[in-house]
């Protein structure tokens, strides 16, 4: 089994799964009906991506665990998602800002992943990219609308940006896994992704009259299984059924 490739696929899958789970918490709680529908539609796309990625991860592992088992029966230290995506939904502005920072990363990331030499991964990337463009359009427009809106909405989404910014360095985290796969598979070079990310983020934030905070303190650890307290709570809810009633189906 290719351990590094397995790990890489899990990273991408876990980002989609955990953010999809987070967004699904909005179901029935959106500020307006249209947004309730939008956030849960985006959640559905993300869960769909996660399914594709976990099915592939399961294959790489030789079928030891199914896609469902990978999603529902790992412990928190085994999840490889970014700290950003596990942060609580907060208010609508927090959710939108989290989404925007992530979508702006995902678009250039998937664009490059379509060129990787692993046919399964490039296929998933090609599929996911089309959806991500819509997600990014949606979150960008809301960042502008809230940032360049009323004094109240401006201040609140500026606060969202201030508190989420510390999780953005981690988007570009690389370790031995990347180093060992990069050449063989032509995976995205994250420093290139970062250049495009920052350009796009600055454009939208300018338009939204928002200011990137000066804090240099940055968190990381998610890619190596070191998570914030929030992930445990997400997993408790997400895994409850499978833990309480092992192998249950509906």
């Amino acid at each position: 089994m290719n351990k590094e490739l397995f790990e890489y696929v899990l990273r991408v899958g876990d980002d989609s799964l955990i953010l999809g789970q987070r967004l699904s918490e909005w179901c029935g709680h959106g500020p307006i009906l249209e947004e309730d529908i939008a956030l849960t539609n985006i959640a559905l796309d993300l869960i769909g991506q996660a399914t594709n990625l976990f099915e592939y991860a399961s294959q790489i592992e030789g079928g030891k665990r199914s896609a469902d088992q990978l999603a529902f029966l790992r412990f928190d230290r085994e999840y490889r998602n970014l700290l950003l995506v596990e942060q609580p939904n907060g208010d609508f502005g927090d959710t939108i800002m989290r989404q925007f920072l992530f979508d702006a990363f995902r678009k250039p990331f998937f664009e490059r992943l379509t060129f990787c030499t692993d046919m399964q991964l490039s296929g998933i990337a090609e599929k996911s990219l089309k959806e991500t463009k819509y997600h990014l359009k949606h979150s960008s427009e809301w960042v502008i609308r809230l940032g360049d809106g009323t004094e109240e909405s401006h201040n609140r989404i500026q606060n969202s940006l201030d508190s989420l910014w510390r999780y953005t360095d981690e988007l570009f985290f690389e370790n031995d896994v990347d180093a060992s796969l990069l050449n063989e598979y032509h995976l995205p070079i994250l420093s290139d992704v970062k250049q495009e990310w920052i350009k796009n983020v600055e454009n939208v934030l300018n338009e939204a009259t928002l200011t990137i905070p000066n804090n240099n303190w940055q968190f990381k650890g998610g890619r190596e299984g070191l998570h914030s307290e929030h992930l445990g709570k997400i997993l408790a809810e997400m895994q409850y059924m499978q833990r309480a009633y092992p192998n249950m189906e509906w």
Binding site: E35, A38, N41, T51, E126, S140
Partner: protein, 161 residues
């Protein structure tokens, strides 16, 4: 013995569960049909990653073909090449419009970010004066629009490419 041409024809009877006026052939999700002595292999692709209808479509295909006397049917799902709204057939576009859903209009890729909303005509009265209410509609593949003339709210089948 049935050949792949027969199968393609049969599959026109399988309706998309979310937009039942469209067949899966109209929608363009059937990529390939191979018939040999052992089995009939049908390759389908989802519209969106999280499309919840795929399993249902797969079951419907197997059921329909068994009614037609064809057993040993295998349905395979692939993600690549990724589905695009360009694969919706001409008759599919017409059926959508008659059903009250505006078919996808050509959006250039760049316009997806910060461009104007696509110009969509009202499927009820044909007016070009419409506005987008939300980028996400009743299903992932649709956006919500409203006609400014007859005031009818309607679904627009988003362009995906």
């Amino acid at each position: 013995m049935v050949n792949s041409e027969n199968i393609w024809k049969f599959l026109e009877e399988v309706a998309d569960p979310e937009i039942p006026v469209l067949s899966i052939i109209d929608l363009g999700v059937v990529l390939d049909v191979v018939v040999n002595e052992e089995k009939c292999l049908i390759t389908i692709t989802p519209t969106y990653s999280g499309c919840p209808a795929m399993k249902h479509i797969e079951n419907q295909i197997v059921e329909l073909l068994s009614i037609k006397g064809i057993s040993n049917v295998e349905v395979k799902q692939v993600l690549s090449p990724a589905w695009t709204t360009d694969w919706i057939s001409e008759s599919g576009r017409r059926k959508l419009l008659e059903y009250g859903i505006a078919p996808p209009v050509d959006e250039i890729d760049k316009s997806i970010l910060f461009g104007d909303d696509p110009k969509v005509n009202c499927p009820k009265c044909g007016s070009a004066s419409t506005r987008m209410i939300s980028l996400f509609g009743s299903t992932a593949c649709k956006a919500q629009y409203q006609c400014k003339d007859c005031l009818e709210p309607f679904d627009y089948f988003k362009c995906l490419k």
